[in-house]
């Protein structure tokens, strides 16, 4: 892992909705090939920050680059270099697996030949070759999530944003899902993931914890546990979140 190449830089990010400050002067960097965990209670501002980095929302002020591109002026280049998977399940239920793959390949402008190769590899890896013409609606949730993640990687993005990707999935599937994430990170992709599950925070290389729109802590899970004198991430999180104003 190359710790020295930042792919996301955030300096003094501020996002205000009227008088409410969702992100209050955030500063952090994310490095290439890193799994960066973004934690926080509901309403702490993590989804807002992530949406800004993906270009779904614009910041009130601050300097931000994603993949080396400026968030204000180079949104098109950013969009080509990121993948995104949201907490809401994001494939089309009334299309088949193959049609979903074709559709996403299409909107990212992947040439047909290349897409077919990727489709083949992807289905083989997920062992879904025999199911390729089945509607997404007929698949179990765990498979859908894995498929959604694989499709988010279809256009070889440098950075993948995952917004609570494992919500509502059983522990075994969650574990398998994280194997996928490790694999992608090993290929040099940077993973930016928000989560509610504290055991998942342990899987991350570094973790930032947001409280009331600010980053209250940012370090490796081990360093954080040491710093807050806690056995697991749950303890760290509770100590920080206890003083929150907006948390629930």
């Amino acid at each position: 892992m190359n710790q020295n190449t930042p792919v996301i830089t955030v300096k003094n990010l501020v996002k205000k909705f009227g008088s409410f400050t969702a992100n209050d002067h955030l500063n952090f960097e994310v490095y290439k090939g890193e799994i960066f965990g973004f934690l926080g209670a509901n309403g702490a501002g993590k989804t807002t920050a992530m949406r800004i980095l993906c270009g779904l929302s614009s910041p009130t002020s601050g300097e931000l680059t994603v993949g080396g591109f400026d968030v204000y002026r180079q949104t098109e280049q950013i969009k080509r270099n990121i993948g995104y998977m949201s907490q809401k399940f994001s494939l089309y239920e009334d299309l088949t697996i193959a049609e979903n793959i074709r559709f996403y390949g299409g909107i990212y402008g992947i040439p047909v030949k290349q897409r077919k190769e990727k489709e083949h590899l992807l289905l083989k890896k997920l062992q879904l070759e025999s199911e390729r013409n089945k509607l997404i609606a007929s698949l179990p949730l765990g498979w859908k999530q894995k498929l959604a993640f694989s499709i988010a990687l279809l256009h070889d993005p440098k950075i993948v944003f995952l917004d609570e990707p494992t919500g509502g999935v059983d522990p075994i599937t969650r574990r398998q899902f994280w194997d996928f994430i490790y694999e992608a990170a090993a290929e040099g992709k940077t993973i930016f993931v928000t989560t509610h599950y504290m055991d998942e925070a342990e899987y991350c290389d570094r973790v930032s914890i947001m409280v009331d729109g600010r980053i209250a802590a940012l370090d490796t899970p081990d360093a954080l546990k040491k710093q807050f004198n806690s056995e697991d991430m749950n303890g760290v999180f509770l100590q920080l979140a206890r003083h929150a104003r907006n948390g629930d």
Binding site: L56, K88, D94
Partner: protein
């Protein structure tokens, strides 16, 4: 461009795989057209008539025969006294009672006038009014023919012609109305629902994160409905023309061009609704309550605008279908060209522009 076609293709999959969507797209238009064309009619046939004839002479018999052979009435019964009139109305079947005074024929001949009373059941006011006027017409006709030449040296006989719809076919009215309603339904409601569905499912975010531009996304969502709406327009006009014999005197090209304009306007409205509505339920509710009902009630499709209270007349100006129906009737029934409908056309264009402007503004603030 290739990306765009991929997007449109996906949209067609959504449409063709959803039974409900298909029913709304193709089932409802045909069903409505057939219903309005055959079931709903302003004419009345075979209304039940009761007669209280106090003179029973030649004249009253002849008038009775004329009424019964007109096709509008069938004889229910003869009454014997005043008291039966109310009783027979209460039974419900009889819609009109005709009362001839005593010595009808004699009085008529001697004094030149006689009394006949028409009592109609006005619990349905339109039916009552219509039956009474049929009866008056038939009786006047009879008097004119039998007595007129003898007693009246000077007379004016109005010769009535109903231009553009000689037979007063109600279907001539309904085809343009249904066309406006259906195109509004498909274009505005279906697009707003399909866009809000993406928002609701979270797939809209995926699309916004992708290199597709928001304009491409919206156009991609709208294009299939544009195509399907045009298909529907042709279908409605075809059925109206071939099955119900509604004439199309004007140019087909102009007719289709105006229809496409109306469809585009409705699509803009659909986009606007989707920008305002948070989910499919809200989009549907807005479309039905804010579009369908006013289309039916205020566009002049069912109820004449001239008869509305002034505030509603003013409001009807804001109803796009009102203008479209005028355009359709002009082209189809009167066969007029563009010069006669340019004002209405301009209004539709302005409406489309305004809807688009508001929708764009709403989308921008939402992305902030």
């Amino acid at each position: 461009m290739k990306r765009f076609f991929g997007f449109v293709k996906k949209e067609f999959f959504h449409i063709f795989r959803d039974v409900r969507t298909m029913i709304i797209l193709f089932g409802i238009p045909i069903a409505q057209l057939l219903l309005f064309g055959t079931v709903i009619t302003n004419e009345i046939k075979d209304a039940h008539l009761a007669i209280y004839d106090q003179s029973k002479d030649e004249v009253t018999r002849e008038i009775t025969d004329k009424l019964l052979s007109s096709g509008y009435f069938v004889l229910n019964s003869y009454l014997d006294n005043d008291g039966d009139i109310e009783a027979i109305f209460k039974k419900g079947k009889v819609k009109e009672v005709l009362v001839f005074g005593p010595n009808f024929g004699q009085t008529l001949e001697r004094e030149g006038k006689a009394d006949v009373q028409i009592i109609a059941d006005a619990s349905d006011p339109n039916v009552g009014k219509l039956l009474a006027s049929y009866t008056t017409g038939i009786i006047n006709d009879y008097i004119l023919k039998e007595m007129g030449e003898l007693k009246m040296p000077m007379q004016i006989t109005p010769e009535v012609r109903m231009f553009y719809n000689e037979e007063l076919e109600s279907v001539y009215m309904f085809v343009p109305g249904i066309m406006a309603m259906i195109l509004m339904l498909i274009s505005a409601m279906m697009t707003s629902i399909s866009i809000t569905r993406e928002k609701e499912l979270g797939t809209m975010e995926i699309l916004l994160v992708s290199p597709l531009r928001p304009v491409q996304i919206i156009l991609g969502k709208v294009a299939p409905y544009l195509i399907l709406s045009v298909v529907n327009a042709v279908m409605i006009l075809g059925i109206g023309h071939l099955v119900f014999g509604v004439p199309i005197h004007g140019s087909w090209v102009l007719l289709m061009a105006e229809s496409i304009l109306f469809i585009l306007m409705a699509l803009c409205l659909g986009i606007l609704i989707s920008a305002v509505a948070k989910n499919q339920m809200v989009a549907m509710f807005i479309s039905l309550v804010a579009l369908m009902l006013p289309t039916i009630l205020l566009s002049g499709f069912m109820f004449p605008i001239e008869n509305m209270p002034v505030p509603l007349q003013v409001l009807s100006h804001l109803m796009p279908p009102r203008w479209f129906i005028v355009i359709l009737k002009n082209i189809m029934l009167k066969g007029t060209g563009f010069l006669f409908v340019w004002e209405e056309t301009l209004i539709l264009i302005i409406m489309a522009a305004v809807f688009t402007a508001i929708a764009v503004k709403k989308f921008k603030t939402r992305l902030e």
